[in-house]
């Protein structure tokens, strides 16, 4: 089975944020080894205390919580993108591995396929 790296780079109110999570859950449900990397504005999806219902949207929180249940274990967040936005892991709603630029570069080799959303 080929492994899949999903890079989610859009803020939470963007449709692509939900699509990236859906893709991760769907792939994991079919037994595909999945890595999920939050990068650029994608790290904003992880902030605690969000309420998407105020925008008439469904919350991402449930989907984020489902990652572990579906077996998506390699959840990573870009250290640079977090710092750029004044965030740290304590403000994130999900436990994720903080990865630096060099580690992200090796991810491209590690996974068979890469999708950026």
């Amino acid at each position: 089975m080929k492994s899949l790296l999903i890079i989610t780079r859009r803020p939470p109110a963007h449709l692509a944020a939900r699509e990236a999570l859906d893709l991760a859950l769907a792939a994991a449900a079919f037994g595909v080894p999945v890595g999920l990397l939050f990068m650029d504005d994608g790290v904003l999806q992880l902030r605690k205390g969000q309420d998407a219902t105020l925008l008439g949207q469904k919350s991402l929180t449930a989907n984020l919580g489902a990652l572990e249940m579906y077996g998506v274990e390699d959840v990573m967040v870009c250290r640079h993108s977090l710092a750029e936005r004044g965030l740290d892991m304590a403000q994130c709603a999900l436990a994720a591995d903080c990865v630096d630029n060099a580690q992200i570069a090796t991810l491209f080799d590690h996974y068979n396929e890469v999708v950026s959303l």
Binding site: I7, D40, D41, H80, N101, I104, F108, N112, V114
Partner: protein, 103 residues
């Protein structure tokens, strides 16, 4: 050893973080292809152009000629290391690259 990764950039460097994020994680032997509004990264004197020039020499740089000329950028202004390519070569590049990362 799989074929090296191809990074494709298609957004204007001023409009988002795509270029800077790509440049943070691109590694040697990989290739970067500029298409659509990303060709503005080759505007001489722009800050994006400055950071592209700092890329290690073993990272290949390509630009889609039609997108470049359509936006009035001159071939003469390009650094030697930038290879201008057409649609055919772009397809080949994608096919021969192990993976493609579209920013």
């Amino acid at each position: 050893m799989s074929a090296p990764l191809l990074h494709i950039l298609r957004h204007s460097p001023a409009g988002g973080s795509q270029l800077s994020s790509c440049l943070r994680v691109v590694t040697s032997r990989q290739a970067v292809l500029l298409i659509e509004d990303a060709v503005y990264a080759l505007l001489p004197g722009s800050s994006a152009f400055g950071s592209l020039r700092l890329l290690p020499a073993d990272i290949r740089l390509y630009v889609l000629e039609n997108d470049l000329l359509a936006r009035g950028l001159a071939l003469d202004d390009l650094p030697k290391r930038v290879q201008t390519i057409g649609y055919d070569r772009m397809v080949e590049l994608c096919a021969e690259s192990g993976k493609v990362m579209s920013w």
